[in-house]
Each structure stands twice: as structure tokens, then as C-alpha cells.
């Protein structure tokens, strides 16, 4: 039973991290129908930025909580800036182009960012300091759930609530929904579409950066490649939940995280990624509209 709970909570952790990445994916896809391949790299850049900041502050002897807060803030700001810039360089000029052109551009961007970090930093795994303090009250059940996991669950839940609020109740959220429905029409009624798209990238990237900081702190190591697989899995999760839908992204992430956890726990850990990719293939083939998504027919 303990093993089951361990796997369950492990799945919840995976799922929460996927959710933080998948939210950005789903927002961007909802608005410009682009699979932002470079989104996983934003998450990786967030983790690297946090590592650099945390490294410096640790050497200066700051306390753990302050480091966590400052590293997270810097990572979020930088990732948001990267997201904003990437959109301007690689996607904005391609808004009227065929969808495949933008997708190829996104793949190029993803590759570029990975090798940018590889060349500027290192190709090795880097140890990442544990930034999340151990909670005293967790000591009795420490072998089952770590405090970093509790922080991950809480952050995901809070971010999800905040984002839902942003989309539902704010002016920019309304503009985002309008742009997602019909970009030309939104433009006609006075929505600044460029600003909305930039905002979407900024918010999505900031969310991914949080995911990056938390998972790096949880697993204790990062390299330039962590964003790629995580990004693809988060995309699967977003599709599984119904791409374009925010609750769907979270639901899909949890389902994927749990299934992966149970698969590796009970069946085989060698084939963990094979399982994830099979999940991806089957989802896209049999339920491309996802759990919460609607089927849309191409307008003829």
C-alpha cells in the first residue's frame, strides 16, 4: 500500500510539473494555433537562470527561503523575456504563413536555444541546490512525500487558479479569449492582437519557469536537454486534456503523470519514455480533441 501511495504521489508531482508547462502550451495553441516547440526550452532556461542566481546567493551566504524567492523571481522574469523575444523573432513574421512554416520555425528555435545553453554553459548535468526547506511537520511521513513535492502541488494549484481568474475576469483575459476565437474579428473590434499574443507568451513562459525552478530543486540536477522531453510530454498532456482548454491541460497532465508513474512502478522503468510516446500516439490518433476539448471541423 505504501508503494501505491508513493507512486500516486510521485505521479502527482510529475503531473503538476507537466501542468505548469502544459498551461503555457495550451494558451499559445489556443491563440495562434502553434505548437510552440521552444516552450520546453523556456522551462529549461528558467531552471538555468535560477541555478545561476541561487549559486551566487548561496556563495554570499543568504538564507534558503530568500534564495528560493529571488531565484524564482529572476527565473520568471527572464523566461518571460525569452518567451516575448522568441515570439517577436520566430513567430510574429509568420502569422500569415502556412502553419507548417511556423512549426518548422519553432523547431529551429527549440534547437537553437538548446545548443545556446549547451555552448554558453555546459553539456554536463549540473547539480542544483535544494532550495525548498524541509518542513518540520512532514518528518513522520518523509519517506512518502517530500516537502518539495508539497510545494509543487501547492504552486500548481495556485497558478491554475490565478490563470483561470486572469482569463475569466480581467480585461486582458477577455481579449485573449476573443483573439482565440477569431483573430481578425478581435482586431476589428479594437483588440490589440499583438499585445495579446505577447502577453500570452509572457504569462505562459513565466508559468513554465516556475515549473523549471521547482523540478530542478526537486530532482537536484539539470542539463540543457531537460526541456525537450518535458516539453513534448507536456504537449501530450495538453492534447490529452483538450488543447486550448486550461482545466484540460491540468487534468491531462495529472492523468499522464499518474499513468507514467504507475507504469514505471509496476511494469517497466526501461520503457518509461516509450510509454509516454505511445500515450502520445494513441491520444492523437484516437482522441485528438482530448478529454475536455471539442471537435472542430475545418471551415470549407
Amino acid at each position: 500500500m505504501d508503494y501505491f501511495i508513493e507512486l500516486f504521489l510521485g505521479g502527482l508531482t510529475r503531473g503538476s510539473i507537466y501542468a505548469l508547462i502544459a498551461l503555457g502550451y495550451t494558451m499559445v495553441y489556443g491563440i495562434i494555433q502553434l505548437i510552440n516547440f521552444a516552450h520546453g526550452e523556456i522551462y529549461m532556461l528558467g531552471a538555468f537562470t535560477a541555478l545561476i542566481v541561487a549559486g551566487i546567493l548561496t556563495m554570499l551566504g543568504w538564507n534558503q527561503v530568500a534564495i528560493l524567492v529571488i531565484a524564482s523571481i529572476v527565473a520568471v522574469v527572464y523566461s518571460a523575456a525569452y518567451g516575448f523575444t522568441i515570439e517577436k523573432i520566430a513567430y510574429k513574421p509568420l502569422r500569415q504563413a502556412p502553419r507548417l512554416s511556423a512549426l518548422i520555425s519553432a523547431i529551429g528555435m527549440s534547437m537553437f536555444l538548446q545548443y545556446y545553453v549547451l555552448l554558453a554553459q555546459t553539456s554536463n548535468f549540473l547539480p542544483f541546490p535544494n532550495l525548498i526547506p524541509d518542513f518540520k511537520f512532514l518528518e513522520p511521513i518523509e519517506h512518502i512525500v517530500r516537502s518539495s513535492e508539497i510545494v509543487i502541488y501547492a504552486t500548481t494549484a495556485i497558478v491554475m487558479v490565478l490563470l483561470t481568474g486572469l482569463i475569466k475576469f480581467t480585461k486582458i483575459g477577455k481579449a485573449m479569449r476573443a483573439t482565440a476565437q477569431d483573430r481578425d474579428m478581435a482586431m476589428l473590434v479594437g483588440v490589440d492582437v499583438n499585445k495579446v499574443i505577447s502577453m500570452t507568451f509572457i504569462v505562459g513562459s513565466a508559468t513554465a519557469a516556475l515549473g523549471g525552478v521547482l523540478i530542478a530543486s526537486h530532482t537536484g540536477q539539470i542539463n540543457y536537454y531537460i526541456g525537450f522531453i518535458a516539453g513534448i510530454k507536456a504537449f501530450v498532456a495538453a492534447v490529452l486534456g483538450g488543447i486550448g482548454s486550461m482545466p484540460g491541460a491540468v487534468l491531462g497532465s495529472l492523468v499522464l503523470g499518474m499513468s507514467e508513474s504507475f507504469f514505471t512502478g509496476y511494469i517497466s522503468s526501461d520503457y518509461e519514455d516509450v510509454f509516454a510516446f505511445l500515450f502520445l500516439v494513441f491520444t492523437l490518433i484516437f482522441r485528438p480533441s482530448g478529454i475536455l476539448g471539442r471537435t472542430d471541423t475545418d471551415k470549407v
Partner: protein, 406 residues
């Protein structure tokens, strides 16, 4: 051109990029030895680079906008096609090129010949992917899986049954073809971008299986001592063998060019392009979407299979690390840079992208970085590639032909 506002704009871009790249480029932290490295000179390099590149960026944008207008007015052929059409140029050039190709392994070292052979393998698989991506418009990110199928077919058949290169070649091609059909059938119903992700998924699944299923594929350690291609049972020295493989690849490249060219101007080729242009209209014109897509997908896979067999024979050692997603993307990059749908373009793309990093050693470290940037800039500024595909034209009686005809 260099007005103050332009300079200011570039200056701001440079400042922004200096800020953006600051932590990653400048600082390197080592948490074990507790050291921090500050590399300030890089910040200035970024700034200066960004300043000038932003001028280039805006210049290219303007040129592209102007170019679009111009292209609509005059239907002129691009330079490369004009040169080919010009017999005075093309015949001597073809003879010269022919002599160069034949003489190549005798003039240059074994090492150089080997590199050229590698480039030729990429020409062949690039042309194969060109059928799928360039002509039929199906973005296949798992293309390397078929390459792996070809390579492993030869390696395993040889290991277990002692099959030679020439026997394995058609078998490898057939296996790749069958894989193409089996994988293609369920996924080709999907929309373009989902198709890309699913093929990526399949590609990774095949690589991961090769990596983990030790009993079948010998896992990450791979398979060594794969024999080079035989030449009528003669024993070849290493250098003879390399020359032989080189000529083999030349022959194969010519064969591929011939086949792809013919396919391009056939009933099937037209259907592929129509499918790329507009799926709904294509179907409404009586074309079977699934069959047409499947034929492109499977034919592309076949060529990857052929390339894979030759690759295994050339390197004599294969392992799953040769078949990562990046390999698929490099081949995609070849097609995109050269010109989607354009045979000449793909040949050019393969030679440039494979040979350049080999010869410019300083460059090779930045290979993948440049590939990534190439994909982005090509899509933004020249989505048709360097040598854009031009459709065949026909001559009719009673029609004043304004254009050169075939």
C-alpha cells in the same frame, strides 16, 4: 538607410539582447567548487553582434516585402534554373562536374572521400524526405526511424544470417517501406501539426526500443563489424573500399534524382503537390487522400531505408545514438534550406550543411546552433528555400510562348 531612428532601434535591440543573454552567456557558476566565472567580454560580443544583425534583419524584411511584389509582376525564373536552361552553360558545366565527380576520390584523400560519401547519403535521404515534406507537405519528424530500420536490417541480417550488402539492400528498403505503410496508415489522417508530433513520437519509440531491447538490438552498445559492400567477391583494401562506396553512392544519388524527378512530374507527383496546397479541394477533385499520402510517406521511408543500409555498411558500426530526433531535424534542415520540393535545392542543401561543418572545423562546434537558426531564418525570409521549385511548363501550338519551355 542609416538614419538616426534606425540606429536607435538597433541600439535598443542590442541592449535588450545583452540583458536577455546576460545570465546564460556571462555567468557560469560551479556549485561544487563554489566558484563564479564572469565572462563580460561575451556581453559586448552579443551587443555588437545584435546591433549589426538587427540592421541585416530589417534589411532582409524590406527586401522580402519588395521581392514579393516584384515576383508577382514578372514571372522570371530563378538564377539556378536559368543557368540550367542555358545550354551553352549547362553542357560544359555538366561535363566538368562529371569529370570532377569521377576524379574526386583519386585527387583527394581517403578522409575527404569519406566525408563526400556521407554528404551523398544525406543527398539521398534528403531527397526521400523531400517527397514527404517538400512535395506532399507532410511534416515527418520521425524520418530517421526508417533510416534506423534500414541500418538495423542490414546489421542484424548480417549478424544472424551472414547476409551481404547487396542482398540486404532490397530487404532493408522493403522493411522501411513496410514500416512506412504500417506507421503511416493510422497517423496520416491527422492534421499537419499533430502529424509532426506523432511521427516524432514514433521515431523516438523506435530509437528507445533499439536502446532497451538488448536481446534484439544489442542495446546502446550497438552492432560492430558490419562488412563493407562486396565487389563481386573480391577482397578490397580499405582505400579501395572507400572509393567503391563513394561511387556506389554517386550511382545511388543519380538513381534517386532520376526517380524523384520522374515522380515529381507524374500523375502521382501532381497529386502530392495538390494535397500540399489544399487538402479539401484535392479530395473534391477526386484524389484519394489516404492513398496519396501513404504513397508519399512509404516512398520517403523506402529511401531512408536505402540510406540506412549504406550508412551501416559505410561506418561498419551502428548504435541507437545515430538515430536521434536531431538526425531527423538535420535532414529536415537540408530540405528546408535547399528548397522544399526542389531536387536541385535539396542536393545543394545537403552538400552545404554536411560539408561546411566538416571543412570549417571552428564552425563544427556551432553546427546545431546554426542549423536551428537556419530553420528560423529560412522560414521567416525565404520559405521556398535557396533554390525554389519551379513547375514544369508545356508548349502548345498556336500559343505564343512567353516562357521557356521544356
Amino acid at each position: 538607410m542609416f538614419r538616426f531612428s534606425e540606429i536607435k532601434k538597433s541600439f535598443l535591440v542590442a541592449l535588450w539582447l545583452m540583458f536577455l543573454t546576460f545570465p546564460i552567456m556571462v555567468i557560469r557558476v560551479n556549485t561544487i567548487y563554489k566558484t563564479i566565472e564572469w565572462r563580460w567580454e561575451r556581453m559586448f560580443m552579443v551587443g555588437i553582434g545584435a546591433f549589426f544583425l538587427s540592421f541585416l534583419w530589417r534589411y532582409l524584411h524590406k527586401k522580402k516585402e519588395a521581392g514579393e511584389k516584384k515576383a508577382e509582376e514578372a514571372g522570371t525564373l530563378p538564377l539556378a534554373q536559368r543557368l540550367i536552361k542555358n545550354r551553352q552553360f549547362s553542357i560544359p558545366a555538366a561535363i566538368g562536374l562529371g569529370i570532377f565527380i569521377i576524379a574526386f576520390p583519386f585527387i583527394f584523400s581517403m578522409y575527404q572521400t569519406n566525408i563526400m560519401t556521407t554528404a551523398l547519403i544525406y543527398v539521398v535521404v534528403g531527397l526521400g524526405l523531400n517527397i514527404v515534406v517538400g512535395l506532399a507537405g507532410l511534416l515527418d519528424l520521425g524520418y530517421v526511424a526508417f533510416y534506423a530500420v534500414g541500418a538495423y536490417s542490414y546489421a542484424l541480417l548480417n549478424h544472424h544470417f551472414g547476409l551481404g550488402f547487396w542482398a540486404a539492400l532490397p530487404i532493408g528498403a522493403t522493411f522501411a517501406f513496410l514500416f512506412g505503410v504500417i506507421l503511416g496508415f493510422p497517423v496520416l489522417r491527422l492534421r499537419g501539426d499533430y502529424l509532426a508530433i506523432v511521427t516524432l513520437g514514433f521515431g523516438e519509440i523506435i530509437r528507445l526500443i533499439l536502446e532497451n531491447w538488448n536481446a534484439f538490438s544489442f542495446g546502446p552498445s550497438g552492432i560492430a563489424n558490419i562488412p563493407r559492400p562486396g565487389f563481386f567477391g573480391m577482397d578490397l583494401s580499405l582505400s579501395q573500399s572507400i572509393t567503391y562506396v563513394y561511387f556506389l553512392m554517386i550511382g545511388m544519388a543519380i538513381f534517386t534524382i532520376f526517380v524523384v524527378k520522374r515522380l515529381q512530374d507524374s500523375r502521382l507527383g501532381r497529386a502530392w503537390i495538390a494535397l500540399r496546397e489544399d487538402e479539401v479541394a484535392c479530395q473534391a477533385m477526386g484524389i484519394d487522400k489516404t492513398r496519396t499520402k501513404l504513397s508519399a510517406f512509404a516512398l520517403g521511408a523506402t529511401w531512408a531505408g536505402i540510406g540506412g543500409v549504406v550508412f551501416a555498411a559505410k561506418t561498419t558500426f551502428i548504435n541507437p545514438a545515430s538515430f536521434t530526433i536531431w538526425e531527423s531535424i538535420i535532414i529536415l534542415c537540408i530540405v528546408v534550406l535547399g528548397g522544399m520540393g526542389s531536387v536541385l535545392g535539396v542536393i545543394f542543401g545537403a552538400l552545404v550543411l554536411i560539408l561546411l561543418p566538416e571543412y570549417l572545423r571552428a564552425f563544427s562546434e556551432y553546427r546545431m546552433l546554426i542549423f536551428g537558426a537556419t530553420l528560423v531564418t529560412m522560414m521567416v525570409f525565404r520559405p521556398g528555400g535557396i533554390i525554389t521549385d519551379v513547375r514544369k511548363t508545356y508548349k502548345f501550338k498556336g500559343l505564343k510562348d512567353k516562357q521557356p519551355t521544356v
